[in-house]
Amino acid sequence: MTDARRLGRVWGLVAEHAAARGGPISSADVCAAVIPGVQVTGAWLSAARDAQAGHLMQVTDEVSRQLAELQLTLGEGPLLDASASGGPALASDLASPESASRWPAFTPAACRAGAAAVFTFPLAVGAIRAGVLGLYRDRPGPLSDFQLGDALVFADAATMLLLDAQAGGAAGQPAGLASHRAEIDQATGMLTEQLSVSITDAFARLRAYAYASDRGLTDVARDIVARRLRLAPDRDLSPEES
C-alpha cells in the first residue's frame, strides 16, 4: 500500500532543490522544499540526538527563527510537544482559544512574531529521535489531508537524512518510513542489547550492515530477529571503513 507517487513527488522536490543548490541531498533541502510542497510560509529544522535538547540547524526566514527560539525560551510550544509525544502538533489557528489554552505563553508571542498557524513534526523512528521539523503559515488554516500526508513524508525524508548525517554517510536509499516493517524495529531493539548501544546507534549499525553487505534492510532484520545473524560489538561494519 505504499503510496509511491507521494514518495516520488516529495523526494523529487527535495532532489530538485539539492540539484539547484549544487550539493548532495541534505535535510536543509527538505526544509526548503517543504514550503512550496505543502504551501506554508516558512520552515525550520532542529536536530537532536537521543533524548538531548535539539539545536537549530536550518531556518528559512526570520519568523521561523523566532518561532524555534521562542519555544526554547518559554519552555512550551508545538515543537516541544511534538518532540515529547512522538506525534505532530498541529495548530491551524493560533488565534483560537484552544491554542491559547494549550500554550498560554507561546501562542501570543508566536502571533506577535507573525505566525497564524504552526505545524510541527517529530523526526522520529519509534524511540529514535533525530529532531523536529517546524512549519508556519502567516494566515490561519489547516493542512489539507493531502498536504498533511505530504508533510509527513517530508518529515520522514528529513529523519532519514539526519540519521544518515549522524551516522557519517548515506546508508540508506530514499524510502518511506511508513512502509517500514516491524522486523526492522524488532531487530533494532535486539541490536541495542547485542552491541550495548543506544537505539539510534543500533539503527545506524543495522542500516550500515545492510548497505555494506548489499542486502535489503528487511532481509537483514529478519535474519537478526530469527537469530540467524548477530552483529559483533567490537567491529564497526559501516561502509566508510571497508
Partner: protein
C-alpha cells in the same frame, strides 16, 4: 454473549475525551474485547495513515497482527478489500476461497479458517477496518456481526466525533503518535527478547503484563525501557537474567553533542 462485559465495553469505547486518552490503548481495548465478546479467535485493526497507507495499529494476538501485516505487505486480502469498498467482507471458509491465494496460505499458517472484516466508517469517511478471525470455518453468526459492527461504529464515532468538529487536527496528532508508539513497542519487544533470550511474542506478553501491573501505558513503558530509564524483570528461570550493566544512560546524562560527519568509533 456476556451482556455485562458488552455494556462495559461500550462505556470504555465512548470514554475518549479524558485527558490522558491514548489511541493505542483504546484500539487494544477494541480488539481484545471484540475477540472476547464475539466468540472469535482473534481480532486485528487496520487504520489509514494520512500518508496514504494502511497500518496495523492493534491486534488481540500476535498471530492476528502478523496476518494483518502480511495483507499489507502482499497488498491483498479481505481486510484491505473491506477498507477499499467500505463494505463488510466475509470469508466463511478460507480453504475454498479463490480471490486471495497468498492471504489464504498465510491465514492457514496462522491457524485461521474464517474472516469477517468490518469497516470503520462514519458517513463517507472510512478510517480503517476491524477484522475478526476464527480458527474454524463456517458463517459468523448474525448477532456477532451486528455487535462487532456496532463496536466498530462506536469506536469510529468516538475517534472522529467532536474531535473532528472542534479540532480537526487532534485525531491526526493522536493517530501519528499512536503509529510511532507502535514502532517503540516493536523496538522494546526486540530489546527484551534479546536480553532474555526469548521470542518477540513472549517479550510482548511480558511488556503488556508489566504495563498492566504498573498501571502504566504500554507505549510509555516501552519507551522508558528502550531509552534505558526503566528496567523490566525477566520471567523466573529465564535463560539469561537482566543485566543492569547494559542499561542505557539516563537522558541528559550523555555528554556528546550531535556528531556530524565522522564514522562512529567502536563502542
Amino acid at each position: 454473549m456476556d451482556g455485562q462485559l458488552l455494556s462495559e465495553t461500550f462505556v470504555e469505547l465512548t470514554d475518549t475525551m479524558v485527558a490522558d486518552f491514548d489511541v493505542i490503548d483504546f484500539l487494544h481495548v477494541l480488539t481484545s474485547r471484540s475477540a472476547e465478546l464475539l466468540n472469535v479467535s482473534a481480532a486485528g485493526l487496520l487504520l489509514a495513515d494520512p500518508r496514504g497507507e494502511l497500518r496495523v495499529v492493534a491486534a488481540s494476538s500476535e498471530a492476528a497482527r502478523v496476518l494483518e501485516l502480511f495483507q499489507l505487505q502482499s497488498d491483498q486480502g479481505p481486510c484491505l478489500e473491506c477498507f477499499r469498498s467500505g463494505q463488510p467482507v466475509a470469508v466463511t471458509d478460507l480453504s475454498a476461497d479463490q480471490r486471495w491465494p497468498r492471504f489464504v496460505a498465510a491465514a492457514g499458517q496462522a491457524g485461521f479458517s474464517a474472516v469477517q472484516a468490518l469497516p470503520m466508517r462514519l458517513r463517507d469517511q472510512i478510517i480503517g477496518a476491524l477484522n475478526l478471525f476464527r480458527a474454524t470455518p463456517g458463517a459468523f453468526d448474525a448477532d456477532s456481526i451486528r455487535v462487532g459492527q456496532a463496536l466498530a461504529d462506536v469506536a469510529t464515532i468516538s475517534l472522529l466525533h467532536e474531535r473532528s468538529m472542534r479540532h480537526s487536527d487532534t485525531l491526526n496528532e493522536q493517530l501519528q503518535t499512536a503509529l510511532n508508539s507502535r514502532v517503540i513497542i516493536e523496538q522494546a519487544k526486540g530489546k527484551l527478547a534479546e536480553r532474555l533470550g526469548i521470542d518477540v511474542d513472549q517479550a510482548f506478553t511480558i511488556l503488556r503484563d508489566q504495563a498492566r501491573n504498573r498501571n502504566q501505558r504500554l507505549s510509555d513503558l516501552a519507551r522508558a525501557f528502550v531509552e534505558g530509564t526503566q528496567a523490566l524483570p525477566g520471567p523466573v528461570g529465564s535463560p539469561r537474567t537482566s543485566r543492569p550493566g547494559t542499561m542505557q544512560p539516563l537522558p541528559g546524562v550523555r555528554p556528546a553533542p550531535p556528531r556530524p560527519a565522522p564514522p562512529r568509533p567502536g563502542p
